[in-house]
């Protein structure tokens, strides 16, 4: 916190989101929410608190409602405000943009509200979930006041001040703090109590707010339309309210100070009283700058920091008054970028304020403007020093960047990385863990233990990589005697823990250890053995830095305590035992107390096992006697293979190695265009077990490669002679399909990619073939990776070099045929056992070489498009899917635009072919215009024709020829697919999706339906089933799932299918082909199991069978072709009448079973209703399937020809 504070407080450890959300919940009656990172937690907490019955200041439980989009949330808030409720909402980034239209209205109507924003980067050349001010800066023109918090403490305190001030001023407030750095940092703060808030919120103002409500007893109207005669004057009528805001906020801050002892001001100056150089800044970066100021001032430099809290309305005089009169040079630091502007917003405001109000007698300081910290880029005291140094220069850069190396426009400042401001009495600890091992949870707990039970202050910040399986987490913890405001990652740690032994070969985990630091390694090897298992570079670092080295076999300790795989309790106990932060016995007691607090509601078993693990941990902790020299013969593995392309070597590998920060501007594409097919270079090797093929019993059915979520199982047929040079362990058997002709005498092989497999086991679970003598043995079986790695690595390398990776058929041959085709979606970072990715892989196998994908934001855009490596790939000819993500809400429209462009270019190309027929030749022109394109061969032939045409055109000097060359590729068929999750299709993008369905255009829509917002942590969508517990539906969703397929069918000319690849893979493959061949709109709703269902992901696909058997899900396809001329019933049911009670399926999923534990009566009632839903749904479908329906040919489908559906297998 930024000011003196001597009063007694209730200290608690929480993150910025919780700090703000508590105040919002206390001060609101209606809260409209929608998930978006990094603000989702605020909505989740508000929902959970209301679900638990927690009340606001007036004793009522706030109504929390999830809306279909942020725009909807803003509309709901606007309505609630007009009806007199105190109302709030939370959001970030693009979500804030969706709220802007309502924000103008709310401000225009002078309505009191606070929107709490975890500020996040706006998507531009790329999406980023991380923090900067580009979103909040777009709200500058709305008329909302902008109040910035720069720490977790301030996220709470400014939230309170915003709620106080908005009621007084009637001006709505946007309260923001930095996404992740503040929203997700846990820190020890002095908590405001309900009593504090009651004392701070003026009841008369609340009454006045209510009195302004629309009330039929005192009728008025708002939202009129005004003409040129009065609009302008009316717009100016609010001026005095805005003029009053700075004074009101100042008074609110004074009142807050009286109550809490924490003093704030609109502009807060810190530093030398006679500073000559000053940085002006807002947000979390001020923590780092302040440390730099303190150190520089102590060294005799005259520097200071001016922190901006109330950014809008900008109090010009307040700003001038807050600056030391000695200031000669100012750097305004903006955490945003406005390309083309004279400077970023804060810079412009500073310049304008000085121009308007700097006292004439004194020379006006020089102002320079700099950008820092975009997308949570690290901002350190060393960078602040670089800015101060720049201010010393005689000709400083007028506009600069800091924190990156700009070797193109040379705007960046040079930073002295050795400038360190951290005091010696702060303990710094860094923990490397796997997402799944509980490290982050345990380290958060550690911060709580120390922060809440000792006088020490504590801070935790957590960094994740971008993978959903095998994600590496790094926890940064600080403990010290003063409030900790170091808003940057730890660079020199006193304690380093590595919770996964295999990281030693992958990561330079010791780089952050300071000399003499303590190193704790979770090791399956004992103290005598472990040294020889470390890579040589790690050994050398331990020696060079003279590290104290401890080990614990946490996996064994946890396993023996009955906590298989959850090593967090063990490693946490070891940290306390050896770090010295707390006295050992007291620490152990505190851990147990914390376990009691955290898990108390989960039962004695959970408590006792964790207690047992704590006790056993200390006994298992060993100090390693470090040998005198490094003697390992192996080192850390190279990041990528030498064969990787130049871009991957230069750029991608740096990111993979955690050194992306070092990449200069010149390394980056200027427009966000990146090469595809890069996951193949990232051998993550995260599986413990991999599938091994038993060729002797395999029936070559193709199921295992079909369901493999990571394309880590491949199958192929090839001529026997291709076996030349095969490793001894490479397996191939005669191909089982003997239908005569040239396809005989081929060999078949099924091969695992051992380092790309995540070990989910879905392949084994789905394998239908069992050994006759040992039923547990299948045609594919999981086996320890280490025993097979070397051989399978060589086998896979050989497999990839086999001559023909494409199916030797001229058409796709059902399920099995599809799996002989090269996947052009491979090795994604999706969750192990993901239910979505097999559909995308299949899509890439069927249409990859001419596939165009519009991808909604969500899981599929993250595992599909998050750097450093991306899974969409290309074939040997260099062809492959093109992929782009626009937004969350507009994906259907985005894809339709692609279709329109392709059609327009095709039309132009066809027109030009006609015009240039003489030069091209009739035969080629006719072939180009009329040849069918529905198979590999016909598309290949068209590509050849296009190539021939272009060769001819190159020789013609005519503008039409140049034009035709530019659009010639569009003569080749493009398969346009619009892909996204249920959050997009059912909720935020539904309006657009509906419109695209109604367009009649040839687009294919694939909904990866997990029935929740998976990417943001499992919030309910309108696809969530009745009775399922989800975030935002903590009490179990009360209403049934929307029937999107039925809505789409209502158009008549839309191909619709509902599929579940695990339940009926043949139907899935067939419906994909039918959808693609239907020249109008198609919609495939693809049931996708998800970790948010609370299931065993290994059996996710076979579990889908029970979904169908129980009537939870009905498989069907609706093919308009069957209704042409009223010949048949277009709807065909592809699953049988349910035979299992619904509960037998649902109770195997945590999302349903959890409600049965938490609220058995409600679970029973919702389950009963869900059974009724399922019964009614089946009956309805059955009836519709019997109905003849005429689909009008004319006008419904734009294309003249209606391709026949492919034959069913």
């Amino acid at each position: 916190m930024s000011s003196e504070n001597n009063m007694t407080e209730h200290w608690h450890v929480l993150d910025g989101n919780e700090a703000a959300a508590r105040i919002a919940h206390l001060c609101s009656e209606v809260i409209a929410i929608y998930p978006i990172t990094p603000s989702s937690t605020m909505g989740e907490l508000a929902d959970a608190w209301s679900a638990e019955g927690q009340t606001n200041l007036w004793g009522a439980v706030p109504q929390v409602i999830e809306m279909q989009s942020e725009g909807g949330a803003a509309g709901a808030v606007h309505g609630a405000l007009q009806a007199g409720a105190l109302s709030t909402t939370f959001t970030a980034s693009q979500g804030l943009l969706l709220k802007l239209p309502n924000m103008f209205k709310i401000a225009g109507e002078l309505t009191s509200t606070v929107f709490h924003i975890a500020a996040r980067t706006l998507a531009t050349h790329a999406l980023s979930i991380f923090g900067d001010h580009s979103d909040v800066m777009t709200a500058r023109t709305t008329g909302f006041a902008l109040l910035a918090a720069s720490s977790v403490q301030e996220a709470q305190d400014m939230a309170a001040i915003a709620h106080m001030a908005t009621l007084k001023s009637r001006v709505p407030f946007l309260h923001f703090f930095d996404g992740f750095r503040t929203s997700h940092e846990v820190n020890k703060i002095a908590l405001l109590s309900s009593e504090d808030m009651r004392a701070l919120i003026d009841e008369d103002l609340v009454k006045a707010h209510r009195a302004r409500a629309l009330n039929p007893d005192k009728p008025v109207m708002r939202g009129t339309a005004q003409n040129p005669d009065v609009f302008f004057q009316a717009r100016e009528a609010c001026n005095s309210y805005y003029q009053a805001v700075p004074g009101i906020v100042r008074k609110a801050m004074e009142r807050f100070h009286l109550r809490t002892g924490r003093r704030y001001s609109l502009f807060w100056y810190h530093g030398s009283p006679d500073a000559e150089r000053v940085i002006v800044q807002m947000g979390s970066g001020v923590g780092a700058t302040r440390e730099a100021v303190d150190k520089l001032v102590a060294a005799g430099e005259s520097v200071g920091l001016l922190t901006v809290r109330l950014y809008r309305p900008f109090d010009v005089q307040g700003f001038i008054d807050a600056l030391p009169k000695t200031v000669r040079a100012i750097a305004a630091l903006d955490r945003t970028k406005e390309p083309g502007a004279i400077g970023e917003p804060l810079y412009q405001d500073v310049v304008t304020a000085l121009a308007e109000a700097w006292p004439g007698a004194v020379k006006m300081p020089r102002v320079i403007g700099g950008r820092y910290g975009l997308s949570s880029k690290e901002y350190t005291p060393a960078m602040a020093k670089a800015v101060f140094d720049e201010l010393k220069a005689t000709q400083p850069k007028r506009h600069f960047t800091v924190g990156i190396t700009d070797d193109v426009t040379h705007l960046s400042l040079k930073v002295d990385d050795d400038f360190d401001t951290e005091p010696a009495d702060v303990t710094r600890a860094v923990f490397y863990g796997l997402g799944a091992d509980g490290t982050v949870g345990a380290t958060k707990n550690t911060v709580k233990i120390i922060g809440e039970n000792t006088p020490l202050h504590a801070q935790g910040y957590f960094v994740y990589d971008s993978k959903k399986s095998g994600a590496i987490t790094v926890s940064h913890l600080r403990f010290g005697p003063r409030p900790i405001e170091s808003t940057y990652l730890i660079r020199r740690a006193d304690f380093v823990a590595c919770h996964q032994f295999e990281f030693m070969e992958k990561l330079d985990v010791l780089s952050l250890a300071r000399p003499g630091a303590t190193f704790l390694l979770n090791s399956p090897y004992g103290p005598e053995e472990v040294w020889s298992k470390l890579p040589r570079d790690a050994q050398q670092t331990i020696l060079d830095k003279k590290l104290r080295f401890f080990i614990v076999d946490a996996l064994t300790v946890a396993g023996q305590a009955g906590l298989a795989g959850r090593i967090n309790t063990v490693t946490q106990a070891c940290f306390f035992a050896i770090s010295g932060v707390l006295e050992r016995d007291a620490a152990i007691e505190q851990i147990k107390e914390s376990i009691r607090k955290t898990y108390g509601r989960r039962g004695d078993t959970v408590l006792n096992r964790n207690f047992a693990a704590v006790d056993a941990s200390l006994a298992a902790l060993r100090e390693v006697k470090v040998p005198a020299r490094a003697d390992s013969r192996f080192s850390r593995r190279p990041v990528v293979a030498r064969a990787a392309p130049d871009f991957v070597q230069r750029v991608t590998a740096m990111m993979m190695d955690g050194k992306g920060d070092l990449l200069p501007v010149s390394a980056m594409p200027v427009d966000g265009t990146f090469p595809t097919g890069t996951t193949q270079w990232e051998k993550r090797s995260i599986a413990q077990e991999i599938p091994i093929w038993d060729e002797t019993i395999c029936t070559q059915c193709g199921i295992c490669p079909l369901v493999c979520p990571h394309a880590a199982i491949r199958m192929n047929v090839f001529p026997a002679e291709a076996m030349k040079g095969a490793p001894e362990t490479f397996k191939a058997v005669p191909w089982s399909r003997k239908d005569g002709g040239p396809l005989d005498n081929l060999l078949y092989s099924l091969q695992v990619a051992p380092e790309d497999c995540t070990g989910c086991g879905a392949c084994v679970d789905m394998c239908p073939t069992r050994s006759k003598t040992e039923l547990k043995h299948k045609a594919i079986n999981m086996a320890p990776k280490l025993e097979h790695l070397e051989a399978e690595r060589a086998n896979y390398d050989f497999y990839l070099k086999l001559p023909e990776q494409r199916v030797p058929f001229d058409k796709i041959d059902g399920l099995r045929g599809s799996q002989f085709r090269l996947p052009l979606f491979e090795y994604s970072g999706a969750c192990s056992g993901c239910g979505e990715t097999p559909y995308l892989k299949l899509l890439s196998q069927l249409y990859g070489d001419h596939l165009v994908i519009a991808n909604a934001t969500g899981c599929s855009s993250i595992y599909g498009g998050n750097l450093p490596t991306t899974p969409w790939s290309r074939n040997a000819e260099g062809q492959g899917p093109v992929w782009a993500n626009s937004l969350f809400e507009d994906n259907a429209e985005f894809g339709l635009g692609m279709r329109l462009a392709i059609d327009a270019q095709r039309d132009l190309a066809q027109h030009l072919v006609g015009q240039l027929r003489g030069a091209i030749g009739d035969a080629l022109a006719d072939a180009l215009l009329q040849s069918p394109q529905g198979s590999d061969e016909t598309i290949k032939a068209q590509r050849e024709r296009v190539k021939s045409m272009c060769a001819i055109l190159e020789r013609i000097d005519a503008p039409q020829a140049r034009q035709l060359i530019a659009v010639a590729d569009s003569l080749v068929e493009r398969s346009v697919w619009i892909v996204g999750g249920d959050g997009w299709a059912y909720d935020i993008g539904y309006g657009g999706l509906d419109h695209v369905l109604a367009s009649g255009r040839n687009v294919n829509i694939l909904v990866l339906d997990t029935e929740v917002y998976s990417n943001t942590g499992g919030q309910a969508s309108k696809s969530t089933q009745r009775g399922a517990v989800a975030k935002f539906a903590a009490a179990g969703k009360a209403i049934g799932k929307k029937d999107l397929g039925m809505i789409a069918m209502s158009y008549g000319n839309v191909y619709v299918a509902q599929v579940a690849i695990g339940a009926n893979p043949v139907q899935t493959v067939r419906t994909f082909q039918e959808a693609a061949s239907w020249p109008g709109p198609s919609l495939i709703i693809a049931y996708s199991h998800c970790i948010a269902h609370g299931i065993d992901m290994t059996t996710g696909f076979s579990h889908q069978r029970e979904a169908v058997k129980s009537g939870y899900l009905t498989l069907y396809h609706y093919d308009p072709r069957l209704g042409m001329g009223g010949a048949d019933q277009p709807l065909k049911l592809d699953s049988r009448k349910p035979t299992l009670p619904l509960e037998q399926f649902t109770m195997k999923e945590g999302r349903f079973a959890m409600l049965a534990r938490a609220d058995p009566a409600r679970a029973k009632e919702l389950s009963r209703k869900a059974q009724t839903d399922a019964d009614a749904r089946w009956t309805l479908y059955e009836q519709i399937a019997g109905v003849h329906r005429t689909v009008t040919e004319q006008g419904d489908v734009p294309a003249a020809t209606h391709a026949a559906p492919p034959e069913a297998e």
Binding site: A471, T605, G1017, M1154
Partner: protein, 335 residues
Amino acid sequence: MSIDLSTRYLGLDLRNPLVASASPLTGSVDSLKRLEDAGIAAVVLPSLFEEQIEHEEMATHDLMNFGSEVSPEARGFFPELAPTGSGIDKYLQLIADAKKALAVPVIASLNGHTPGGWTHLAQQFEQAGADAIELNVYFLATDAADTSEAVEQRYVDLVSSVRGITKVPVAVKVAPYFSAFANMARRMVAVGASGLVLFNRFVQPDIMLDELEVAPHLVLSTSDELRLALRWIAILHGNVQASLAATGGAHTTDDVLKVLLAGADCVMMASCLLQKGPGHVRALREGIERWMSEREYESVRQMKGSLSQRACPDPAAFERSNYMKALKSYSSRFA
């Protein structure tokens, strides 16, 4: 002549010897009430399986942790729900509710597997109002390293540990698979078992031919199965200072009469009540009265144990020769 059907079991006065053993029927106050209305003399609540509780708690715990903190965008995938009480809480509530609703004794049943779990839970049962506790001991020694001595000692230790902390009577429901059952019975009584419930029936695995899978398969008992208990009750009657309850196969009036004659203090039933409903109790009671009346028995006390090994004219009939004799008579009939 009015016949006195009353008996004593675990020191509790029962209005007749018919007791509902642990089954789904004893799991709700509603069906317990129906049993009482039909004339049942005591009820044994369904077994609380310590393992099951542990499993459920850990499953919820794992679920809440599942996928948590793996991505910067999701702290976890489920809202933190407070279970409305653990399995233990629900069971304690059932004890309390049953006690409130019923006049007949309520016996709580516990299937534990750790010493801590046994004692801790038994104590809670007592506090919740249980009139007695039935320990449902199940330990399958599948590890070839486990010796019979160790297994037997485990039983004795468990009974002893529970006895040490509860004041209410404790019955032990055991399986017959002991080399020296009579000795085992005596040892359990010696450390404080107030009664023995003979015998536990286990759900045995079966092979599903369609699925080619092994799965537990619950089969309801038949009257034939009762004879194992009949033999041991007859042998133990008068030889151990503890109540004896017969269970596993008592379906008909005849079944009940036979075990009473052998020396049982009460007869526990589940399968027949599940098949025929609580009203079957009434029919059984009437059948017992009719039979006793026809043979001019005045009371259950009078006839109890009258054909036990001690009291029967041919004690050897309960011993090994019984088998020989059976075969002999069987073959002679058709010789």
